[in-house]
């Protein structure tokens, strides 16, 4: 029943005043106190709110604001006072009714409760009003549950007058959210009429806007609120005639785009050996220059890159240093490559010429000054040199302990450049018959005259004294004679030689070492050149204009407007005046990198508005929108040309380019640098990276990398296996995307997986067969008792199969090398893999080894992490290895049963049915789950006699919890058939010391299970699917596999994934006006037999993608 507004009492038509501020009761006065800091230097007045003697934490309110801190920062007197109070919590204040309200009777007309009126305004100047009609509605619909005594959800409306401003704002925001999302009033209570709902929301919105505190609008832009647009409305067709558009916007670049931009600016295009061929790889950011990426995306599962994100002070501060570092490196590149930024070379031409001359003179002198001085001074030269002083103290006798292990040569050598220099000196001074001591003495003298730092000489001498023998071997081994040839004397041209000679004669003084002479000459020449440049005047304005043009293109990827050109020329000239040309150019680079258009993509539409107020993206913006939709890179050459030549103006143009990019396979990308770094795992793809990344982010499995897990509980080396698990999940998705048939169903129901596989079936088969060949050859021989001579009998076979550590050319054991031992270790390991009738062996290494062996990654590195098989309940000592993958794995069906997804949606030490269920509800059923109320202690209680399911039921089946948990638990509990490592189970291990049955070793061979054995209880994986809207699918489910099968058949699940794809490619939540776009994308998927490429093409050619509408007020 909904009462008409006119039926509400006159009382509630009155305006109700609500007072902010904290009111002190007589009880609270006891805790009002002057507090003093520990050092006595300061004090303040404040009321104690709470105190916990155990932790020492107290809360104090000052001027209406409450802060929490530890008592340790207070004086001893204060601490004693607190201790005397013991545990303390101030009582909540009761409101006092205002006289006007007291005179009126509360409403009893509807349900006997009321919004209680206000007593007094305790904080002058700070009062709030509930609009008349809103008060009536609150009274009728809300107060019954939200007054003292019931106070559901920790919300009370009968004491609103006791709220501070913050409390008022918080309460109104919560009301607005609950009503907006239709959560309140509850389903089984009277509901607002549409008019009432609108009135209530209008008042809440107006009130919050007036306080600049409306959180709903901002919330609705965020990914977590995407599902709040009604799913049925979007796909029913009722709204398909609305004209889709995206509001004009700036879109903050993602962490990936930032890296790509920086790589482009710095000409950083790394290559990797992939499938035996050198390929350029985008996304490998191992740059020489140190850049911190400030544009990091959030880590939640789902769509991470939204256009509503803004840049903040932290971004900019980081960009200041990034700008400086980038500018330094760009100037370095300018020096190496004259085509990189020609205008910089032009402006610095004179400076560079001078530098080249100076470098040439310095190099000549550094190499040949000793000879040059003899030429100039003849016999007098010797007398002008300083008196030699050795760094070696002849009296120093170091007591050398011969038992001490001597550091290896490479750990004592002073570095490659130093070694080359030492070698050159040795070549220069060494004479036949010199002893080591004589040679070292000659070198020392040479370095002394040259003027090397005393410590450097001492370091070289020490090195030669301790390692001469090793050093001489090293010279031969590393071919110093060829690779580090000493410089050959050759004069510079006559004019240069004359300048050098004249300057030396003018500058050299008796006692100068060579380096002093060089330094003096260089200083003279530098000053002369500098003066020459000053006299030549500033860089011509045209040169600066060209510089601005080039820099805009390099940094912002566009030409400046004429206004910008003028402003930046002036700015740059001012930089030149104050900093000099070189530093001025660096400052210009830094300035451009701090502009907002470096950080934001620009999408405002251009040209004439259509009849619906929409404009198309400009061709340039469209080229970026398309390119960034599928890759992290700026538009490629074809896209740029299309934009410039008027071939990016129609939907067909968009389609042509999108299809072209989707079909492109000649570009490789790093999927995940973090995965690549772990165990050198290959993490590469040649599909458009953003297509694969959508599913990575949607399923959220890379998050498992951050979940810290226990090797002991895993029963093996978890850290070594987790990168392999992620990369093989990537590969599975890539495989499904490559087939591009029934993509969503395949993802949710495939029974085929990759497990310890490089992705190269041929190579993996060969690796596996090789082991089998060796095993078959030796298995019936008495190999366990083989001696070296026995091995020799099989030289021919061993040469062919190349067993690691067994070099048939040299089978004698030497040092750490022991071929017979390595042979037996390998055979033992091969036997374990094949002696139970297996037809193929998993090709992992038999013992720790560096470098590739047995199987390799597609990038040619050792394929590591065989223990990844343990996630799939596979025992390494009994695995009939499927060389051709993906291959069927037992007890698995689709991504939701993949260990990667299961771990990513689990906790460190236990499963997480709630979040697994929440994920399905939100990601696959387009459902919504409200935020956990702040008052809820969301922890499943410990009880080592119960299963997770039992503990969860105890906690969440309480009436106040079940309203939300009914949407999650029945969807998450079927996955209890897997543990928190994603391993299938029928019994749940009760891991607690009290339940320990057997302790296993902490370390052993990869095939050994290290898990301790505990008591168990049977797993109940039953659940219930509600929300597909399909009676054939909804209902009780037996377990996760049953659930996955049903989800895979659901129309709603398909549409839900399409909604997420929409958000991913549009960078925003969908509006009702995007209905046509979503329906088209869904249709495209169905009509093409489940092609995800078709979905992408549909989305990227939709009005939602193409059109922008002004959002200016």
């Amino acid at each position: 029943m909904t009462p008409p507004l006119s039926q509400l009492t006159a009382l509630h038509a009155a305006v109700i005043y609500l007072i902010a501020g904290i009111m002190l009761s007589s009880a609270s006065q006891v805790q009002a106190r002057t507090w003093t800091s520990a050092d006595g230097a300061q004090s303040f007045e404040g009321e104690l709110e709470a105190y916990d003697p155990g932790s020492g934490i107290l809360s104090v309110t000052i001027d209406g604001k409450t802060g929490t801190f530890n008592h340790a920062i207070l004086s001893v007197a204060d601490i004693n006072y607190l201790k005397s109070l013991g545990e303390f919590k101030r009582e909540k204040q009761r409101p006092k009714p205002v006289a006007k309200a007291e005179a009126s009777a509360p409403s009893t007309e509807s349900n006997g409760s009321s919004v209680k009126p206000v007593t007094a305004n305790k904080a002058p100047g700070r009062s709030f009003k509930v609009h008349e009609q809103a008060a009536q509605l609150i009274d009728y619909y809300c107060i019954d549950c939200h007054e003292d005594g019931t106070e559901k959800g920790n919300m009370r409306f009968d004491n609103l007058e006791s709220h501070s401003r913050d409390g008022w704002v918080d309460t109104l925001n919560k009301m607005q959210e609950q009503i907006h999302f239709g959560n309140m009033p509850p389903e089984d209570e009277d509901q607002f009429t549409e008019e009432e709902r609108s009135q209530m929301l209008a008042w809440l919105s107006q009130e919050l806007e007036s306080l600049n505190a409306n959180k709903l609008e901002e919330k609705l832009r965020t990914p977590a609120y995407g599902n709040y647009v009604n799913h049925k409305d979007l796909f029913s067709g009722e709204y398909k005639d609305l004209k889709p558009f995206t509001p004009g916007r700036r879109w903050l670049i993602s962490e990936f785009i930032f890296d790509a931009k920086i790589n482009g600016m710095l000409d950083h295009y790394p290559r990797q050996n992939i499938d035996g061929k050198q390929q350029e790889v985008l996304g490998d950011n191992n740059r020489k220059v140190n850049i911190t990426n400030p544009f990091l995306l959030p880590t939640h599962s789902g769509v991470r890159d939204y256009a509503n994100t803004g840049l903040n002070g932290g971004h900019l501060l980081t960009m200041i240093t990034n700008g400086k570092e980038t500018a330094n490196h760009m100037m370095y590149l300018v020096g190496r490559n004259h085509r990189y930024l020609p205008s910089v070379n032009e402006i610095l031409k004179r400076e560079d010429e001078h530098k080249a001359i100076l470098d040439s003179r310095e190099k000549f002198l550094k190499n040949f000054i000793d000879r040059e001085l003899v030429d100039i001074y003849g016999d007098k030269n010797e007398s002008m040199l300083p008196a030699f002083v050795s760094v070696v103290d002849p009296n120093e006798q170091k007591a050398k302990d011969k038992d001490i292990k001597i550091a290896a040569f490479h750990s004592a050598a002073p570095g490659q450049d130093e070694l080359a220099d030492i070698f050159h000196t040795m070549k220069k001074v060494e004479e036949s018959g010199d002893s080591d001591a004589q040679l070292i003495a000659k070198c020392e003298r040479a370095w002394f005259y040259y003027g090397l730092n005393e410590r450097k000489i001492a370091s070289r001498v020490t090195f030669l004294q301790n390692y001469m023998e090793d050093w001489r071997k090293n010279i031969i081994q590393h071919k110093y004679e060829e690779r580090q040839k000493p410089p050959v004397y050759k004069q510079l041209d006559t004019g240069e030689m004359k300048t050098i000679e004249e300057t030396i004669l003018a500058q050299r003084e008796k006692g100068d070492r060579y380096i002093d002479i060089i330094g003096k000459c260089m200083a003279v020449w530098s000053a002369e050149f500098k003066q020459e440049r000053v006299e030549a005047g500033d860089a011509p304005r045209e040169q600066v204009e060209t510089l601005i043009e080039e820099m805009f293109v390099k940094v912002l990827e566009r030409s400046p407007t004429s206004e910008e050109a003028e402003q930046y020329v002036d700015l740059t000239e001012s930089y030149f005046d104050s900093l000099g040309n070189r530093e001025g150019i660096k400052k210009l680079i830094q300035t451009l990198m701090l502009r907002s258009d470096f950080a934001y993509r620009h999408e405002f539409g251009e040209g004439q508005e259509d009849a619906f107020g929409r404009k198309m993206l400009s061709p340039r913006d469209a080229s970026y929108a398309i390119s960034y939709a599928l890759t992290d890179s700026s538009p490629d050459k074809e896209l740029q040309e299309a934009a410039q030549s008027g071939r990016l103006n129609t939907r067909e143009d968009y389609q042509r380019e999108v299809v072209r990019l989707l079909e492109k396979r000649d570009q490789y990308y790093v999927i995940d640098e973090a995965v690549q770094r772990l165990e050198n795992t290959a993490s590469i793809t040649n599909q458009p990276i953003r297509k694969l990344r959508f599913f990575r982010e949607f399923f959220g499995y890379p998050q498992l990398l951050a979940i810290f897990k226990d090797n002991k509980r895993f029963g093996g080396d978890y850290d070594q296996s987790k990168a392999r698990l992620v990369t093989e999940t990537d590969r599975l998705i890539e495989h499904i995307l490559q087939n591009d048939k029934d993509v969503f169903t395949e993802l949710l129901t495939t029974e085929d997986f990759y497990v310890y596989h490089s992705g190269d079936n041929e190579a993996m088969t060969a690796s596996s067969e090789r082991i089998r060949t060796i095993y078959e050859y030796f298995k019936d021989l008495d190999w366990e008792n083989f001696e070296i001579e026995d091995l020799r009998k099989h030289k021919e076979f061993l040469a062919k199969v190349e067993m690691r550590g067994v070099n048939v050319k040299d089978l004698e054991p030497k040092g750490r090398r022991n071929p017979i031992r390595e042979f037996k270790r390998a055979m033992e390991s091969f036997t374990i893999r094949l002696d139970e009738g297996e037809t193929a062996a998993a090709p992992y290494v038999s013992f720790p080894a560096h470098g590739p062996y047995n199987a390799s990654t597609r990038t040619g590195l050792q394929l590591r992490g065989p223990q990844v098989a343990k996630f799939f309940n596979i025992k390494l000592d009994n695995w009939n290895y499927p060389s051709v993958q993906p291959a069927k794995m037992e007890h698995r069906k689709g991504m939701l049963t993949h260990p990667a997804w299961l771990i990513a949606h689990a906790k460190n030490t236990e499963t997480d049915p709630i979040h697994r269920g929440k994920w399905i509800q939100e990601k696959l059923l387009a459902g919504t789950i409200p935020d956990v109320p702040i008052t809820v202690d969301a922890v499943v209680p410990e009880d080592h006699t119960k299963t997770m399911r039992q503990r969860l039921d105890d906690k969440t089946k309480q009436p106040e919890c079940w309203g939300c948990h009914v949407k999650m638990n029945p969807l998450g509990l079927p996955f209890e058939m897997y543990d928190d490592f994603g391993r299938f189970r029928t019994e749940e291990t009760l891991e607690h010391p009290d339940n320990l049955i057997e302790e296993r070793p902490s370390k052993a061979a990869p095939h050994v299970d290290l898990r301790d054995i505990y008591k168990t209880l049977p797993v109940n994986p039953k659940g219930k699917l509600v929300g597909t809207g399909d009676p054939a699918l909804d209902g009780d489910v037996k377990h996760a596999i049953d659930l996955a099968e049903r989800l895979g058949k659901s129309d709603k699940v398909r549409q839900s994934i399409i909604r997420y794809a929409f958000r991913y490619f549009m960078g925003r939540n969908e509006f009702l006006s995007d209905s046509a776009t979503l329906i088209d994308a869904d249709r495209a998927y169905l009509e093409t037999g489940g092609s995800f490429d078709a979905v992408i093409v549909s989305l990227l050619t939709s009005d939602s993608f193409i059109y922008r509408k002004s959002n200016n007020p």
Binding site: A72, R249, T292, G310, G415, K587, A706
Partner: protein
């Protein structure tokens, strides 16, 4: 275990700490109304700190037995002699705590821990995605704001030469972010004290920011709504950086007064400077950064496995690899143990210099050292190839220290036993006692979790 409620409570204070009313903010952050902050110096060393190296030579047989069995106990330092390498701290025994028994298994172990030792997480071999949270130094810096917020210094290298310039640091300002770090004394000097030594560069910075502010403001005039807000944020960010520069200019007189003297040998990255010389210069800069008020928190990687050791007393002519020392390689007839000890002696000399210099600066009724904590610790726990079961801390604290621990050798219960504490507990203690009531900082230890041992929260016995 952290609950959602606790997290929100923590976040609320973390976020609100900067917006509270000034008296409360002062108190909450442990500062006085006169603005005296607490200072924290985190000194990271490489190659582990072996438990035996910390044993006191004058332990009774009973104490020595407990120590070697890793049983919990504590002794007053004034009744004992310090190990040889710590002799220079003899006069500061009342300020010294040798805190033993902490573990660091939740951080990266083995050769390196990268950011993880100060964040109590696994760093995933130094991958950005492995950085799970702001490291403890940045958390402390939030409680004690300053113009620079936080300063990171390091002396690291490529075995034969030192890194120079501005390089990747080990601290993390936030999840997935790696800090910048000054790698040589000259760069640190130039960057930190720029407002005094290079006012021209500061002027050009200001001119650039002013230009950008005008330019962005012009753009913001022609758009509205939410998009205008984005540009307004950009402009506000520029304004705030200009504001910071102004603050720096305002304290430039103080900076000039305390500007350290830097030897010319550190020019151009200091290729000829010995390791002790570099350490000395870094110490001078570190102290000056604190005294001038540029920062209240410094993280200093005094060495790392690839830091070349040159000019070490006893091995002056050798170029020593710390990594090789970890594998017990000796140089010029001196054993690895002795060289490692000499390196630590050098470190302790720097710690003493910091104490003495801070003691010369009057503050309140005492000196700046009274409000300072110096924490010297191994970045990779107990040894060269560490496991993380023992990660000792050497702490030097002034008389206003918020913790009750000075003057003691404290050995806490061993890893994965009842009452054991981790670096997470230690960092929680630092945070709780300085105004952040977080229930637990950092990841939990999984051995403790498997044994269902309580491990959340501060180390109560160290709290006042």
């Amino acid at each position: 275990m952290n609950t959602r409620r606790d997290f929100l409570k923590t976040s609320a204070l973390g976020a609100g700490a900067l917006t509270l009313g000034s008296p409360l903010r002062g108190i909450a952050a442990g500062t006085s109304s006169t603005g005296t902050p607490k200072r924290f110096i985190f000194i990271r060393k490489s190659n582990g700190l072996r438990p035996a190296e910390l044993a006191l030579p004058t332990f009774s047989s009973q104490e020595a037995a407990k120590n070697s069995k890793k049983e919990a106990f504590e002794v007053d330092l004034d009744k004992h002699e310090l190990p040889v390498w710590m002799q220079s701290l003899e006069q500061y025994k009342s300020n010294l705590t040798m805190l033993h028994g902490l573990s660091a298994k939740m951080s990266e172990n083995g050769h390196w821990s990268y950011s993880s030792v100060m964040g109590a997480f696994k760093s995933g071999r130094n991958s950005l995605s492995g950085i799970k949270r702001a490291t403890i130094d940045f958390e402390m810096a939030k409680l004690f704001p300053s113009p620079f917020g936080h300063v990171e210094l390091s002396l690291t290298g490529s075995y034969s030469s030192f890194r120079t310039g501005i390089v990747s640091g080990y601290s993390a300002p936030a999840a997935h972010q790696r800090n910048y770090c000054y790698a040589d004394p000259q760069t640190a000097y130039n960057e930190l004290f720029k407002s005094v030594i290079n006012p021209g560069a500061v002027d050009s910075d200001n001119a650039m920011l002013k230009f950008l502010q005008n330019e962005e403001s012009f753009k913001a005039e022609v758009i509205g709504g939410y998009e205008k807000l984005k540009l307004s944020n950009h402009i506000s960010s520029i304004e705030s950086i200009r504001g910071r520069n102004q603050k720096l200019e305002a304290i430039s007189e103080n900076i000039a007064k305390h500007l350290p003297e830097l030897s010319p040998i550190h020019a151009d990255g200091g290729p000829n400077a010995s390791t002790p010389e570099k350490q000395k210069a870094m110490t001078d800069i570190l102290v000056a950064a604190l005294i001038t008020g540029l920062t209240n928190v410094v993280t200093y990687t005094i060495d790392e496995l690839s830091t070349p050791i040159k000019g070490l007393p006893g091995n002056e002519g050798d170029q020593i690899s710390i990594h090789e020392l970890g594998h017990n390689g000796g140089y010029s007839g001196v054993g690895a143990d002795k060289i490692r000890e000499n390196i630590r002696i050098g470190h302790m000399e720097q710690v003493v210099t910091i104490i003495e210099k801070l003691k010369q600066v009057p503050e309140g009724s005492g000196t700046m050292f009274d409000n300072t904590m110096i924490m010297y610790f191994p970045e990779n726990a107990e040894t060269h190839h560490s496991h993380g079961t023992e990660a000792p801390q050497i702490v030097l604290s002034g008389k206003n220290c918020n913790l009750d621990m000075a003057g003691r050798y404290i050995r806490l219960p061993y890893h994965a036993t009842e009452g054991h504490k981790t670096i997470g507990n230690w960092y929680t203690t630092l945070l709780n006692t300085h105004g952040n009531p977080i229930e637990h900082y950092g990841d939990f230890d999984l051995d403790m979790a498997r044994k269902k041992l309580d491990q959340a929260g501060a180390i109560k016995q160290l709290m006042i």
